[in-house]
């Protein structure tokens, strides 16, 4: 089983560093955001699987030729106090590391889910008190606030799209429609599940630079996907105008600072300003990228390129499990 664990370890390293860095620098994802999204998911999934798998195979090696032999033997050691003399300290260490890593990943996923859900519920509670239903749009709330804001809050049947009356004053009906279609695309395509998984991956492995790259890339890709969905119903110039108006109007120095009056001391306003102009390194440039591809539409990838990228994604997910059982099969 040694060779399989080394192949898995090599795969884990490739998927942890060079592959995500290359993908985050590539230009083609803007031409095929859906394919790129599939590839990111398979990189994350295969990366995690091969990390855990490599440790597990290496640690269990003394107990059997393949996982199918080694796992029952290991369970015997655990449950029936069978002799564990074949296992050295390093092997026990590797098995423990694999179990801990798996538990850590699953636990962080669950924890992130609960944290996100708690924040959403609290936010929805406040919206129920502060927002009023939009007159002609189902599950859309209007909130009284001068800065142009639109967002959606996912939550199954309770999903809502929220827009400020400041936004409604600035945009024409068609532009507003573009914004709402963009937000509805997020809800329909369940983008919040992707954001949840990649946010969890990032907080589980913050020391891995690629978990940050992946989260940044994914949040940019979902915006492109939602833009594409909006373009089925509105034309490009309308969507571009909506983005430009919201983007330039969101800056406090072009509109009245929304929080200065309400906040008294004005500290809240300063914090908003920092948030708007600062931007995380992962997110800076997203708006530019979105606009660029709307203003000069890119040729989508051809069928061959699409198939190639999707095949790589498929292989990535299939290879680690196959490697886990393969040594037993070719014996």
């Amino acid at each position: 089983m040694f060779w399989a664990s080394y192949v898995l370890a090599a795969l884990a390293v490739v998927l942890a560093w060079p592959a995500p860095i290359a993908l985050s620098r590539a230009a083609w994802p803007a031409r095929a955001p859906f394919t790129a999204m599939v590839l990111w998911q398979s990189i994350a999934l295969a990366g995690g699987l091969s990390m855990i798998g490599a440790l597990l195979l290496w640690g269990l090696e003394p107990l059997g030729e393949s996982l199918t032999d080694a796992v029952p033997a290991f369970l015997g050691v655990l449950l029936r106090d069978d002799s564990a003399q074949e296992l050295g300290v390093v092997h026990v260490f590797a098995i423990s590391a694999a179990s801990l890593l798996l538990a850590h990943l699953l636990f962080t996923l669950a924890l992130t889910f609960m944290r996100i859900r708690r924040q959403r519920n609290r936010h929805r509670d406040m919206l129920a008190l502060l927002g009023s239903p939009a007159t002609d749009q189902p599950s859309t709330l209007v909130i009284k606030h001068p800065s142009p804001v639109a967002y959606c809050l996912p939550g199954g049947a309770h999903s809502v799209t929220v827009m400020s009356d400041g936004l409604m004053d600035l945009l024409t009906r068609a532009e507003l429609d573009a914004v709402l279609r963009h937000e509805n695309a997020h809800l329909h395509q369940r983008h919040h599940l992707l954001l949840w998984a990649f946010a969890a991956w990032r907080s589980a492995l913050p020391w891995l630079p690629t978990s940050r790259l992946a989260q940044g890339a994914v949040s940019e890709l979902i915006e492109m996907l939602a833009d594409d969905e909006a373009l089925r119903r509105v034309d490009e110039s309308t969507l571009v105008r909506a983005i430009a108006i919201v983007g330039s109007g969101a800056l406090p120095d072009t509109s009245a600072d929304p929080l200065d009056d309400a906040d008294g001391a004005g500290t809240g306003g300063a914090r908003v300003r920092a948030g708007v102009s600062g931007g995380g390194p992962a997110e800076s440039g997203t708006t530019t990228h979105r606009l660029r591809r709307l203003l000069t539409p890119l040729r989508p990838l051809n069928r061959l390129q699409q198939t190639a990228a999707l095949s790589v994604a498929g292989l990535l997910v299939v290879v680690p499990p196959v490697l886990l059982v393969a040594p037993g099969l070719i014996r």
Binding site: M126, A128, L130, K144, S203, G279
Partner: protein, 122 residues
């Protein structure tokens, strides 16, 4: 039949509209006298008290305990709550992105300049 959520909203609207603190009885009377009347005329004071304690837990309402019956007032104005909520939406934190999806994320100073030029041109 009005749900507790609807009642919370009605009660908050009343408290936000009056600067003075109100008792649960006064609130019930105001709800019953509301022109729409949809919230149910036969509202029990205990229901209003339930709603008030829920709102208190959420940090929206505070109780004046030195009078009997207790009087309730809103902690801050509706505008302050809205500003706070929008602040939450507008401030970018990496983990916030998973909670809600904004139409437009952070815009850098340079990007905003580009956007303004774009608008001037079109």
């Amino acid at each position: 039949m009005a749900t507790l959520g609807d009642l919370e909203r009605t009660v908050m609207d009343l408290l936000w509209a009056t600067p003075a603190a109100l008792t649960a009885n006064e609130l019930r009377d105001s709800i019953a006298a509301a022109p729409s009347g949809e919230t149910g005329r036969e509202l029990a004071v205990t229901t209003v008290l339930t709603v008030l304690s829920r709102l208190e837990k959420k940090g929206l309402v505070e109780r004046e305990r030195n009078s009997r019956p207790h009087r309730y007032r809103s902690v801050t104005s509706r505008e302050d709550h809205t500003a706070e909520l929008m602040h939450e939406v507008l401030v970018t934190a990496p983990d916030r992105e998973a909670v809600l999806a904004r139409f437009l994320g952070s815009v850098s100073e340079a990007e905003a300049e580009t956007l303004r030029k774009l608008l001037g041109r079109s």
